[in-house]
């Protein structure tokens, strides 16, 4: 308990025992509700065939330990390659998206500027009306982007939701700072990079996270636009592992391709896939949270 409260600011009163109890109970409850399924997933991924077969589903009680599922996943080198593809696409994509979004969000965040309202409205329309799958495919195909990594980035590069949220954060910054910079002759680029962005690290990190997670998780664009298997991103490669034995017709006898007896049970592999896809996620949040900037929203005092 003491560690919990040593960080209490000096001005804050010590919370009452019941309220502390209530809060900690709620937090513990939330943690359990989230952690237990995570535990089940990880456990199943590490369970040997006997445990998975006996459970007939996810493994809730440990019964042996096996890393076979992970060995199977990383065995052929296909997954490792796909990790690189996904990292590259995520990195480049996030930079492109974040760049375009920051610029546009700032460009539209100055009250009364020319055309900002119609442009914003145009952005907003993309949030409401989405193109169909086939027109988009034909476009990407006509642009010669089939089998290009850019097909995984450009069609989803700008997200109106992210743009509008970012703009809102920009608009909540104290305006007089940029105004006075303008008086001093600073141009908009300087104001954005020197004044606005340093005060907006938090929202930049959050929107960057949204974009990065979007690119990292995406697979449907790759299904449509990437024929060359060597260019498949991780999520698409991982999907393939769970399709074993799920063919529509009994005649496409996939499961028949005699597996070595050592191969891990499907369910363990499926859960290993979930874990593999989660690993980068566990690292990224602390990086984002670090940038949450203190105190840039200046609230009026009291009411």
């Amino acid at each position: 308990m003491s560690t919990l409260f040593k960080d209490r600011p000096v001005w804050a009163e010590r919370p009452s025992l019941p309220s502390r109890l209530a809060k900690n109970t709620v937090l513990a409850g939330i943690a359990v509700v989230v952690v237990f399924p995570l535990y089940v997933v990880v456990l199943t991924s590490l369970s040997p065939a006997s445990a998975v077969n006996a459970a007939g589903g996810l493994v809730l009680v440990p019964d042996g330990l096996s890393f076979q599922a992970y060995a199977d996943l990383f065995g052929g080198g296909v997954v490792s390659r796909a990790v690189l593809v996904s990292l590259g696409v995520t990195l480049v994509g996030t930079l492109v998206s974040l760049g375009a979004t920051i610029l546009a969000a700032y460009g539209l965040s100055q009250p009364g500027s020319l055309w900002h309202r119609p442009i914003l409205f145009a952005f907003l329309l993309t949030f409401l009306f989405a193109p169909g799958m086939i027109p988009l495919y034909l476009l990407v195909s006509d642009l010669g982007l089939i089998d290009s990594y850019w097909s995984l980035i450009l069609p989803t590069a700008v997200n109106a939701f992210n743009l509008v949220v970012m703009r809102a954060f920009f608009m909540n910054l104290p305006g007089e700072i940029s105004d006075s910079a303008r008086v001093d002759g600073a141009n908009e680029w300087t104001i954005l990079t020197r004044l606005v962005l340093p005060m907006s690290k938090g929202v930049t990190a959050v929107i960057g996270l949204f974009y990065a997670v979007g690119y990292w998780n995406a697979f449907f664009n790759a299904i449509l636009y990437i024929n060359d298997n060597a260019k498949w991103p991780l999520q698409l490669v991982l999907r393939q592992y769970v399709q074993q034995g799920q063919q529509l017709s009994s005649n496409s006898v996939v499961g028949d391709a005699v597996q070595g007896t050592a191969s891990a049970p499907n369910l363990a592999i499926q859960m290993a896939i979930v874990v593999v896809a989660l690993v980068p996620v566990t690292f990224i949040y602390p990086l984002v949270q670090k940038h949450f900037t203190k105190g840039v929203i200046i609230g009026a005092v009291k009411g």
């Binding site: 804050a12 937090l27 939330i30 399924p37 460009g107 305006g175 008086v183 566990t282 949270q289 900037t293």
Partner: protein
């Protein structure tokens, strides 16, 4: 606009309450020139272009990307007015006016799906939307930075679980053969049946949604919470405001612009309640409660190869979303908020 009083809004900069711009100055002076804040009263077009060309240039990359990859293919939605098939394309498919709309609107199953969608949307709005806010405030109140970081990083993980996995987890824990049911059975009680009870449908799907995405939804609020000036809390505390009063008068007003913005955006998106979650549990709960617009359209398209039906539904959803956004934005203005954009 001046009725922002009570609060603590964001960015109280110079010229508080100058109408129309929600407490913020309009485009401030540069080289001494005053800037019009409304479209009508400002300088000439040429002067504004000279003043704002940099800003317009900045919006250009995003605009070009969207023009190419969004507006252009979105024009393909004209297939809503066709008997479209992909082989003949837009150019080759026959035009049928509003026949596809009439067909959709005359199908009672469409209306039933629309009704279910609205019900689910309303439940999401009332029972899901506030939870990330509350959770964010709760998490933010954890004082130990390490514990706070740990909790925050854990609660957002379920977002990365697929719906199939979420449904399976719920099934295996709360289903009729699940963990709890087996415990109940072994102790002589009746098993749980909520995973297949149509009356429990809204409860179950909302719980699933909360479990999966509430943690993820906190991120944006946590960023906003962090941005609130801690001095405000301190001076409020010095003035004798207790914990709850501080939350009411500082925390919530600090979050208010973000909450309102997300609420409006959510309204625009309201008819997109999700697809997979409902599709997966269709048989379990019956199509009577689980059929939503997206699953309805999916079946229409897949079974009959009628791509136009999807385009029609997309247009309808978009128009409804647009109307809701405009109305909500207007209401936000009435309440003295910015909403998505300010009123002229």
């Amino acid at each position: 606009m001046t009725d922002r009083t009570g609060g603590a809004a964001t960015a109280v900069a110079p010229s508080p309450g100058d109408g129309g711009d929600g407490g913020r100055t309009a485009r401030g002076p540069r080289r001494g020139s005053g800037r019009g804040r409304g479209t009508g009263r400002g300088p000439s077009f040429g002067a504004r272009l000279r003043r704002d060309w940099q800003l317009l240039l900045m919006a250009l990359p995003a605009l070009v990307l969207l023009a190419v990859f969004h507006y252009a293919p979105t024009l393909g939605n004209v297939i809503a007015f066709q008997n479209y098939n992909p082989w003949d394309g837009v150019a080759g498919s026959p035009w049928v006016g509003f026949a596809q709309f009439e067909r959709l609107f005359s199908d009672p199953r469409f209306w039933s799906a629309a009704g279910n969608t609205l019900t689910i949307a309303a439940v999401q709005l009332v029972f899901f939307f506030p939870i990330p806010i509350a959770l964010a405030i709760l998490l933010d109140s954890v004082l130990s930075p390490r514990l706070r970081l740990l909790l925050q990083s854990v609660v957002y993980m379920p977002h990365f679980f697929s719906w199939v996995l979420v449904v399976t987890l719920f099934q295996q824990i709360l289903g009729g053969a699940g963990l709890f049911s087996q415990m109940l059975r072994q102790n002589g009680y009746a098993p749980l049946e909520i995973m297949s009870d149509p009356d429990a449908f809204l409860f179950v799907v909302t719980s699933q949604m909360i479990w999966k995405d509430a943690g993820w939804g906190t991120i944006i609020f946590l960023a906003a919470l962090a941005a609130i000036n801690p001095n405000l809390y301190e001076s409020a505390a010095v003035d004798g405001a207790g914990r709850w009063r501080r939350m009411w008068h500082i925390t919530l007003p600090g979050l208010r612009p973000v909450i309102i913005l997300l609420l409006i955006l959510k309204l625009g998106d309201i008819l997109n309640v999700g697809f997979e979650q409902f599709f997966l549990q269709r048989d379990a709960f019956g199509s009577g409660v689980s059929e939503v617009l997206d699953t309805y359209i999916y079946h229409q398209t897949l079974v009959t190869g009628n791509f136009s039906a999807g385009a029609v539904a997309g247009l309808v959803k978009g128009v409804v979303g647009l109307v809701l956004i405009l109305v909500a934005n207007k209401m936000a203005h009435r309440m003295g908020e910015n909403g998505i954009y300010r009123r002229a």
